[in-house]
């Protein structure tokens, strides 16, 4: 299913065309708090789309809407040219949307390998009966998926820790394992909520490289939230800027950087 729109050319010369996901006039309220106020934007196939904004702007809430974890009071989510009905998060995941979380959400009682294998639920379809018998389809499926997971483990350079319980890992590695778990799903759309928060410069460089490689090698569409402006400008093709639940800017990094509303929001200029 294609949703064709006017293509654009990125800074590094790629042409980005069809729409993958489109948010139309999304409004999300928590009681009296309006977390997202009438926001529309789209995510195109193959691009890296950043969502930025000050604390509490509603960025994570927006990812949660895309994940199907929050259901907006108003507005529509369109996926590949079709209006998406109200869906449970696991159904959204089955459609090929994977994500990482702002506060690491790994399965602490499981090893790195099991965490990453859990990311492949979409590919693992054998039923309870085959699993009970194990020999045959279940074992074959386990081995095939293990091979795919080992490739991702190699790609993210976490071979040495694959049998370690994730609870014992330092913060930076946990972030990387979480990325591995999301990549294991071979998603069409990858959502990253502050993948570099709390990392040192070196770790940030590694993570940036992984994100660019994922986009480049697997063609994965990526939407990411990030506070580090340098990183955002380097990585992303287009940027949405949010402030107090509203959208105040949308465009290429250069356009956004020169947008007076964005400058005001970031310098904390009073609007009244």
């Amino acid at each position: 299913m294609k949703d064709s729109v006017e293509p654009y050319v990125t800074a590094d010369g790629r042409t980005i065309g069809d729409r993958m996901m489109e948010m139309r006039n999304i409004t999300l309220r928590f009681g009296g708090v309006v977390a997202i106020k009438d926001i529309s934007f789209d995510i195109r196939e193959g691009e890296i789309r950043a969502i930025i904004g000050p604390n509490g702007a509603g960025k994570s809430s927006m990812l949660n809407v895309i994940s199907g974890f929050y259901h907006p009071q108003e507005g529509e989510v369109w996926f590949r040219g079709e209006k998406r009905p109200a869906m449970k998060p696991y159904q959204v995941a089955q459609q090929g949307v994977a994500r990482t979380f702002q506060n690491i959400a790994l399965f602490n009682g499981m090893s790195v390998l099991d965490n990453v294998m859990t990311g492949r639920l979409r590919q693992m379809k054998t039923g309870l009966w085959s699993q009970m018998i194990w020999k045959g389809p279940a074992e074959r499926e386990e081995v095939e998926n293990r091979e795919a997971v080992e490739k991702i483990i190699d790609f993210l350079e976490i071979q040495a820790i694959r049998k370690t319980p994730v609870g014992r890992l330092p913060y930076g590695l946990k972030k990387r394992v979480e990325l591995a778990r999301a990549l294991a799903a071979e998603p069409d759309l990858l959502l990253l909520d502050e993948p570099m928060a709390g990392m040192n410069v070196e770790e940030k460089e590694d993570m940036s490289r992984f994100i660019l490689d994922v986009n480049d090698e697997f063609g994965t569409t990526i939407a990411l939230i990030e506070h580090d402006m340098g990183v955002v400008m380097d990585l992303s093709d287009r940027v949405v800027v949010m402030d107090y639940g509203r959208k105040i800017g949308d465009g290429t990094p250069d356009e956004v950087r020169n947008n007076p509303d964005v400058i005001d929001a970031y310098l904390g200029v009073d609007h009244d």
């Binding site: 994940s67 790994l106 009682g109 499981m110 294998m117 990311g119 693992m124 309870l128 194990w134 778990r181």
Partner: protein, 358 residues
């Protein structure tokens, strides 16, 4: 020098994900099975069967079942006694309604019926967690015991209100009723226990087990990465209850022979099996065996040492047993939630590196 991974290279992912990755563990596993199947049946007597082996095997099945629910899927249950009762009464009704069908099929069907009942009582887990779920399963426990007491159809209107197992045989050898030989009781329980353990191991090593553990560790994240919480939780309740139902059926038909529901399947039973998995190790099949062995052997050992050797009165020793179990539960819950199984793993870890721990 036997206990080494070195020189025992894994060349495929099948080898790497096998149950016992170290060759020595594999040999020990086969050795245990060989003794269990080829030695014990020939030497077992009435005392060892009834005091130790038969209850151990039956409780091990129940512990495996409860461990799937609590240890793997993180859903607390205090309804084990009630679900064992479902297995027992289902088995009784099937045995009396279809006397020509094999008892083996009746036990398996009793497990299936308990699975359905368990999934039904698992429905609240979709809404409530932790303490509240524990209370809901406690309500199931009391309701089920009340039901089997109240509705006389379940015990075929017998005057005593008890159910008693008619004589049934497998391959011409009696396994229930008054004439049953200890080795036959032992063998049928051993077969069910072995198969249960293998099935449980298979389910927990693959994607089903990972779904359960994902729900246990962080249910919201699990759902966002694609676990259907309804299916995962209800399948855990169903599979867990299947094993618990089988253990209840065997407990009634093979072990006790005659049962009064409140006495055999009361709330104490729920706690007993829960203590087994806490002491043995949550989230471990081996731990289910270790915990069942511990809780079955403890009273036997205390009686031998306390009453027979030291001459203490029986009730003093019984109280002493409560104190020991209580203290152990607290120690394990606070210090080592993975129980005996984890202590065993740590010991092996040390052994693997010995004598050069670095």
């Amino acid at each position: 020098m036997l206990y080494r991974e070195a020189g025992d290279f894994k060349t495929s992912y099948v080898d790497d994900s096998q149950t016992f990755p170290i060759a020595f563990d594999r040999y020990r596993y086969w050795a245990v099975l060989a003794v269990a199947f080829l030695v014990i049946p020939f030497v077992i007597d009435d005392y060892w069967a009834n005091a130790v082996f038969v209850p151990f095997l039956i409780y091990a099945i129940a512990a495996i079942g409860l461990n799937i629910l609590v240890g793997y899927c993180g859903q607390v249950s205090l309804g084990t006694g009630g679900f064992m009762a479902v297995g027992a009464y289902a088995c009784y009704k099937l045995m009396t309604a279809f006397p020509d069908v094999s008892i083996v099929i009746h036990v398996v069907l009793a497990g299936g019926i308990t699975a359905a009942v368990g999934a039904l009582f698992g429905l609240p887990s979709l809404r409530i967690k932790g303490f509240y779920l524990a209370v809901a399963t406690l309500a199931a426990q009391f309701f089920l015991v009340w039901l089997f007491n109240k509705v006389s159809w379940f015990y075929n209107y017998s005057a005593s209100g008890q159910i008693s197992a008619p004589e049934r045989s497998v391959l011409g050898i009696a396994v229930t009723g008054a004439q049953v030989a200890p080795w036959a009781q032992y063998m049928i329980c051993l077969v069910f226990c072995t198969i249960s353990a293998i099935i449980a191991r298979n389910l927990t090593r693959g994607s089903t087990g990972r779904k359960w553990m994902a729900i246990r560790d962080m249910d919201i994240a699990a759902e966002i990465i694609g676990v259907n919480p309804l299916r995962a939780k209800l399948s855990a309740f169903a599979v867990s209850s299947f094993f618990v139902g089988i253990s209840g059926a065997l407990f009634f038909a093979v072990y006790l022979g005659a049962v009064e529901v409140g006495e055999a399947f009361g709330i104490q039973k729920s706690f007993l099996v829960l203590f087994m998995i806490i002491i043995g190790g949550l989230g471990s099949i081996f731990g289910s065996f270790a915990g069942a062995a511990f809780m079955v052997l403890l009273p036997v050992a205390l009686k031998v040492v306390g009453v027979d050797w030291l001459g203490f009165p029986t009730d003093t020793v019984a109280h002493f047993q409560l104190v020991i179990v209580g203290a152990l539960i607290m120690i394990f819950l606070i210090a080592e939630p993975h129980g005996l199984a984890q202590l065993w793993r740590l010991a092996k870890e040390k052994l693997r590196l010995w004598p050069f721990p670095y």
